[in-house]
Symmetry: C2
Subunit: 390 residues, 2 copies
């Protein structure tokens, strides 16, 4: 085997990929697979956004934009913060990126040197810790659980920080739990980060997909932090690969330089399409879809509870449920594999999201229409009965 | 100033950015700026490709694809290698990426650990060495010149390799010189790389834009190397941000894992559009544009030669001329700044491409229609007369 970089050993494969491959094989063999494993709702991009993309292409808008994105889009994002979230952001502090992955890459490339440490929740979104390893930093996986609502606390940050800690990465709403942070909690977390001279990065890619509280941003707490956002989830533009970051002034020249070198520029058709993402027409569509997601969530929480599958976290945002399968199974991966094999329902075993309390946890995405969720519940019920008696 | 990663010191800003900013200011003030500084031709994406992108959007193709790209696109690229270049590549070895930048990121993340060395030409495309620094490797800038036609030789690779050298990165056609490598030269370079247990990476993003020889690929020499390619230049899809890589079998599982973590997936509308990039209709458009680029090149080479601006490298490919301004100026950056100020012609000073023989070199992109190039020559002639007498 030729020489490869040691970092590869830190970057685990997604266990769900085995589930996905098997789900595809089952579907190819004619089975009716219900997909509750993917972090992508079934909604296509709202029509006004698609129309704007088509219009841009028809006009021949196929050239590079600047590395930080179209000025008009940066202004439109600033307008969204002002109108919907009541926060005034200089558009110069908004950098448009190829997906939120691109935004996080830029921030980590800026902050993380060799063996520098970044605190993250365990469980949490796995790509985030892998991106820390990519830049030769050390992801510090801080165990979180129901007691702290699966979010970091000032005490945990203080406990896990060392002189090498350069940043703490939070997500609100979080994946896989749907847990959200309140503004006063973010203020306290920022305070402890500032005291220990680390940067706070807040992943807000599920912003807007909240069901119990108002739509908020950490930028209302302070502008001296990094925020990552995306057009993928709330705006339902997954395949377009477009996100953004908001950074403090001091970081902008270096982030722009990194963007030039890493990406050249974000995709042009997606940027023109995204200009329509903030129109009243699009926002009305997104609001009705948010209501639809809430209805799915409410249905599924009740139905799964009745089956004995209990929630581990309060699912206030995103479109995930984080569930305890310990009454039924020792090993969530075997449980998920069996569910797919026997009943053609695909879900994600907890192991993909970390090491802490994940072996008997499952993530279910409510990314299918209600009738499909009802069918999934029927199948799951049948599977549990068989599983329990076996 | 907060803590940032030491790698930032290795990543220089592009000097052309100052030129670009000034060119924009001049244009905003009503001046008619001729842009010969950007690595992007004036051609919009061919209409059949745009039409395919529009059709895909109209059909609602806005969801994620797999991390390695649409199977149909990977097969279409393999078909292109088979039909146009006579090389049979398993589509599984083709990974579609967000631009060639994405492809190179994946390969370097795989190969380059801390302080591992990668050989590159100096002068060469600056982002490439910056991406090596990004992953904590050491770019080794090997001086090349007219004697070796601005390409690496087996002797140079042997001379600059150390036990830490993990890869050599070539480009053919090269930026900024337009220099190309023959197949027998690539075979010899691969041999010396293999002997010293390093990987050979060949950047073919200007493949197809060749004017004196047949369209070729290093994959015809061997399949045990890495090739980076792009839909940007030959296929004229710059803003869509789509490229690909071809890798040896052993590297595929880890490259896929990296792609999942770094990008999730390449942009979906661009992938559907690119399916039309290999149609006879598109290829006919691209061939007529290649002829147009050749005519521009021939005109400009002769006209600049008459003015006393001599070519440093034989411009057999890409759309760049690498020129010697030493008869006129000590410092190409001052020369370029003056040309922009006095005559509103924007070109790139050599310094952006390296340290070796670049202080009195200029890159001119023949990325504008012939009448604009003729106007640029008139202005340049006036500037040189004034510059010489000053």
């Amino acid at each position: 085997m030729p020489h490869t970089a040691p970092r590869l050993q830190q970057i685990e494969p997604f266990h769900v990929m085995r589930i996905l491959a098997e789900a595809q094989a089952l579907a190819a063999a004619g089975h009716d697979v219900i997909h509750l494993e993917v972090g992508e709702p079934d909604f296509p991009t709202p029509q006004p956004v698609i129309d704007a993309g088509i219009a841009a292409l028809a006009q021949g808008n196929t050239f590079y934009t600047g590395a930080c994105g179209l000025p008009a889009l940066r202004e439109a994002i600033a307008g969204f913060y002002a109108d919907r979230l009541g926060v005034h952001i200089d558009p110069a502090r908004i950098i448009v990126t190829p997906g939120a992955s691109g935004a996080l890459q830029l921030i980590l490339a800026l902050l993380v040197g060799r063996d520098d440490e970044v605190l993250l929740t365990d469980p949490g979104y796995p790509c985030n810790r892998h991106l820390v390893s990519l830049f030769e930093g050390r992801p510090i996986n801080v165990p979180v659980n129901a007691a702290n609502r699966f979010q970091l606390t000032p005490e945990l940050i203080a406990q896990y920080s060392t002189p090498r800690t350069v940043a703490t990465l939070l997500a609100s709403p979080a994946n896989p739990t749907g847990a959200i942070l309140q503004q006063d909690e973010i203020a306290k977390l920022l305070e402890v980060c500032s005291q220990s001279h680390q940067q706070l990065i807040v992943d807000e890619i599920y912003q807007g997909l909240v069901y119990e509280s108002a739509h908020e941003t950490a930028l209302a707490v302070s502008q001296e932090l990094f925020v990552v956002n995306s057009f993928s989830k709330f705006f339902q533009m997954t395949g377009w690969r477009l996100g953004w970051l908001v950074a403090p002034d001091w970081a902008l020249p270096e982030l722009e330089r990194l963007a030039q070198n890493l990406f050249l520029a974000p995709p042009t058709p997606a940027q023109h399409a995204a200009l329509a993402a903030f129109s009243p027409e699009t926002l009305a569509i997104l609001e009705s879809r948010r209501q639809e997601l809430r209805a799915r969530r409410n249905y599924l929480c009740d139905a799964l509870d009745s089956l004995g599958l209990k929630l581990l976290a309060q699912p206030d945002g995103a479109f995930y449920l984080w569930l305890d399968c310990s009454p039924f199974a020792e090993d969530a991966e075997a449980f998920a594999a069996g569910l797919l094999q026997d009943e053609a329902v695909a879900i994600t075993p907890g192991r993909d999201f970390g090491q802490h309390g994940t072996r008997q946890a499952l993530r279910i995405a409510y990314s299918q229409p209600l009738p499909r969720l009802e069918e999934a519940v029927v199948r799951l019920s049948r599977y549990l009965q068989r599983y329990c008696t076996a």
